[in-house]
């Protein structure tokens, strides 16, 4: 909600200015930036990189995945096609996106020595960890720092003198496939996030926050802010009415159509199936998800937003389906194929992190479950799933999740020395559910 006196553009510019000032001219070895979903984190990284390069500081950029690295390289080239950029890659086959071959300013190599002297060198944390015996860089930017594990930072921190750490604290924490309880509470717990270790050892570092989400619509920002960032609220950059989702074809009265209308109207829709305990790949819920996507495309959805003068059709590539588990994603993909839908991104919360769509359809992590485990209650999982959309989000869920939550209060052991995370997943789930229930469409497939 934009009230008078709040100018999102000015607020964001002020925050960015302070961050760049600390990065370029500050004395601290590190600067931490918390960024809510869609607050222009990538834009900030690109801008900081350009300004550091312009000031003559050689820069290394550490991202977490190859897709993120390639994306950053492309964005840098868009802003400054002359800037010499090095893409350090692995020695596997197809280590980087072929798009980079078309960029004249980008040098690609699997050896850091080949890229020495370039203004900006970009790679993944995993690849940087293998770089040894080089002169340390004066500056580094660590992207998605909250998703980077402390041990990954340990492996690369010797490569730079000082760094800008950028990330979203509300998204999924890094995880480990084996137990790491024995180190819980240590400031350098290797399974914790890079930022928590960094701040535990360097509490005096300046911390900034981006105050405006440009992605989330005015209908979503207050809920996501309240549920997942209660102590660090943010606003949406657009107002109610700035964005509009409408359909060329009228509703046929079915559950999927009604929930789509509700979501188009209010930004949120909950398609509630009858209560039932189901296997993870609940066939009815999976089919309901697929049907909603099919109807969304069939009904010719068009999105009006501040980005374009004319309404833009919501095509398959602007739609995503989010799930908690990989087998659920696979089941949804199969169901979509059966309905003849292609080109829709279907993935788990982990893999949807950092991505943006017009409309998302989410299979609720707790739908049909007999229990609520720490995995399914994790705050970040729901936050990622509920914050990927520019226009509307439809959640498909079995009835009874509120009761399930009440039967399963969080029972994780309290570890000495570990900062308790607020809000906990239990509470965040309740908050989201309470809001969604105002946009509920009951449907028996």
């Amino acid at each position: 909600m934009v009230t008078t006196g709040f100018d999102p553009g000015a607020e964001a510019a002020r925050a960015t200015g302070a961050i760049l000032d600390d990065t370029l001219r500050g004395s601290a070895r590190g600067v931490v930036v918390d960024s809510p979903p869609g607050a222009g984190k990538s834009t900030l990284v690109v801008r900081a990189a350009l300004e550091l390069a312009a000031a003559g500081h050689p820069l290394m950029v550490i991202a977490q995945t190859n897709a993120q690295v390639d994306d950053l390289v492309v964005r840098l080239a868009e802003k400054d096609p002359e800037l010499p950029v090095g893409r350090l890659h692995s020695s596997d086959s197809d280590p980087y996106d072929k798009v980079l071959d078309g960029l004249a300013n980008v040098t690609k190599s699997a050896k850091a020595a080949d890229l020495a002297g370039l203004d900006v060198v970009i790679s993944t944390a995993a690849k940087w960890a293998h770089v040894k015996n080089v002169e340390p860089w004066g500056h580094a930017i660590v992207d998605e720092a909250y998703q980077m594990r402390s041990d990954a930072l340990l492996a690369v921190a010797g490569l730079f003198e000082r760094a800008l750490f950028v990330g979203d604290p509300g998204q999924l924490d890094p995880f480990s496939i084996v137990g790491a309880d024995q180190w819980a509470g240590l400031s350098y717990d290797p399974s914790a996030s890079a930022v928590s270790t960094l701040l535990a050892h360097n509490p005096e570092l300046p911390q900034h926050r981006l105050p405006v989400s440009w992605r989330l619509p005015a209908s979503a920002a207050p809920l996501v802010s309240d549920a997942f960032y209660p102590y660090t609220p943010f606003r949406s950059g657009t107002d109610h009415g700035d964005r509009k989702l409408s359909f060329g074809v009228a509703s046929d009265g079915s559950g999927p159509d009604r929930v789509l209308d509700e979501a188009a109207e209010s930004g949120w829709g909950l398609l509630e199936l009858p209560a039932r305990h189901t296997p993870r790949t609940d066939p009815e819920a999976v089919r309901a998800v697929a049907l909603v996507v099919r109807r969304l495309l069939d009904r010719g959805g068009v999105a009006t937003s501040e980005r374009a003068e004319e309404p833009v059709p919501v095509t398959a590539d602007r739609v995503a389906v989010g799930t908690a588990h990989r087998d659920q994603a696979a089941a949804v993909r199969a169901a979509l194929t059966e309905l003849g839908v292609t080109g829709v991104a279907v993935d788990t919360a982990n893999r949807l992190q950092g991505r943006e769509f017009d409309v998302t359809v989410v299979l609720h992590p707790l739908s049909g479950r007999p229990d609520a485990t720490a995995f399914h209650l994790e705050t970040g999982r729901l936050c990622v799933l509920a914050s990927r959309h520019r226009h509307a989000c439809v959640v498909v869920c079995r009835e009874g999740v509120a009761e399930l939550l009440d039967e399963h209060p969080s029972t994780e052991p309290v570890q000495l020395g570990v900062t308790v995370k607020f809000p906990d997943g239990w509470e965040a789930n309740h908050t989201v559910l309470a809001h969604l229930s105002e946009h509920r469409v009951r449907w028996r497939p």
């Binding site: 402390s150 340990l154 921190a157 084996v178 137990g179 790491a180 024995q182 087998d327 696979a330 194929t337």
Partner: protein, 539 residues
Amino acid sequence: MSLITTLARLEAVDTGRAQPLATVRHRHLADRPLVLVPLTTAGEAGAPLGALVGTDREAPRLLAVAQPRDRDLRFAFLAELAEAVLPHIEAYADVVEPAERNETDPATGKKAKVEVELCTDAAQLIVPSRAGVEFVRLLGRSMRFRRTAEDDPDTPYPAPARVPLLGRWLTHYGERARVPGSSLLPAVTDLLNRHWASGQSSLEDQHLGALLAWIDPPAGSSGAEAALRAELARDGKGQLLCPPAGPATDPDFDNRLLAPAIERYDRARTALASAEDGLAADARLGELSAAEREIRSLLARVMLPTWDAVWRGLDLLRELPEGSRTEDRWTRDRWSFTAHRDRVRSGEPPQPRRDDAVTAAQKLASRETAQAQLEAQEALDDPLVLAGRRLAGEAFLATVSAVEMAYTESKRPAPRPLLTVRTDERPHLAERTKVYRSLEGKPQTAEFVRYADGPPADDGEIPLVLRILDRMGRGKEPAPGSVPEPGERIAWTLFEHDQRGGPKLPDPEETPWTHGGPPGADAATRAELPDPVTPEDLL
């Protein structure tokens, strides 16, 4: 829990018997393991109450502490435990074979092969339950910083000579037990749970008696009934017929039998101390030993059923043939055993109380590698485990129906044959997903190209096109036998068979500023000091 485990559990409920989860044994079992059944004192963390220990199932050695709060008796117990455990470990430490290890030369930074000793076998220590592993770790922690009179003549309460050494070994075993797939210190419940699915919850599976009841119920009884009996049945005196596998004891045993016996012992001891002449002292000494004997027999009575259950569990496990890659993991255990032997022999201080940042990160990385390797090796060793992965879409069986030669488009074309394979399974494939098969024990990589007839629409058999990428030799034509023939039935996995090691981390002295910098000199010396003695330590 994977789908196949859920199904196995449902089947176990249905049939009243635990169902196999494996067709081979996935953990190494030594020919002569040392079994340790420890008990701890209720309400007194780290105060051992007794133990059965030994390698001969017919002749366990009984250790008991008549008054667990008495530190002298506790030390006597630990000294006796050291006497029972250390000779067994040391017997393995001296039998070695030559081996090679890659080491980095600190001067040149080059890697070179170094001749080293590797123990031909390692001592295996087996405890009944996961809580037993935890207790071993706790014992190790409580002993390794103790000082003996030889270490420090001024120490107020010197520990018996070999106790700190036992503490270091138990710490090593406890730490190694955290590595996935390691067999130096297994818990029998974990071993059984890996190989069978019972019809009860995984929490209930931690009860050794109940678990054995599901796997091998007595004739004429279902697993569920037998498990319930193991958990609840009591004799006329209200004592459990199947006492807990420890180290915790049953409160009813503590209250009705143990506490009165310890009280009698305490009274006899006070009486002995106040005896006025030799004759009275003799009589009272008799009472004291009688009281001690009673405690020993009480403890033996609650530990023997567990001792027998451990050996019965091992018998059941030995009926399974050992998986072929199990030996490979045991070799890693032997390396770990040898490395600890070397550290002890070279006079290094005991393991520090807390890992430093670099050690913690190294341990986590190596355990993650071990976990991924374990999962892959179990699936490759065992068709039943592979079936679980196939059901989860992480592997598939397919028959080769056609092979078409193709080559890379470079100056020296290399073979990249296209296989068409048919399968009725639905692996989670996307374009360029890598799949692996085992070729003469080594993994061969292929990538998924496309569904030959479009995406699968129903449950029938579908053709897939795969492109083979490696292991075909250096020539233009693939080496003989490196490309499958039509008609061959091959298991492909979507997970890798081998694990690459992670990157080298900085040395602890070069810990970066983000992680607090190098550990200070004081931290290094502090780690070697024993716990300070506080008033609470003394009775």
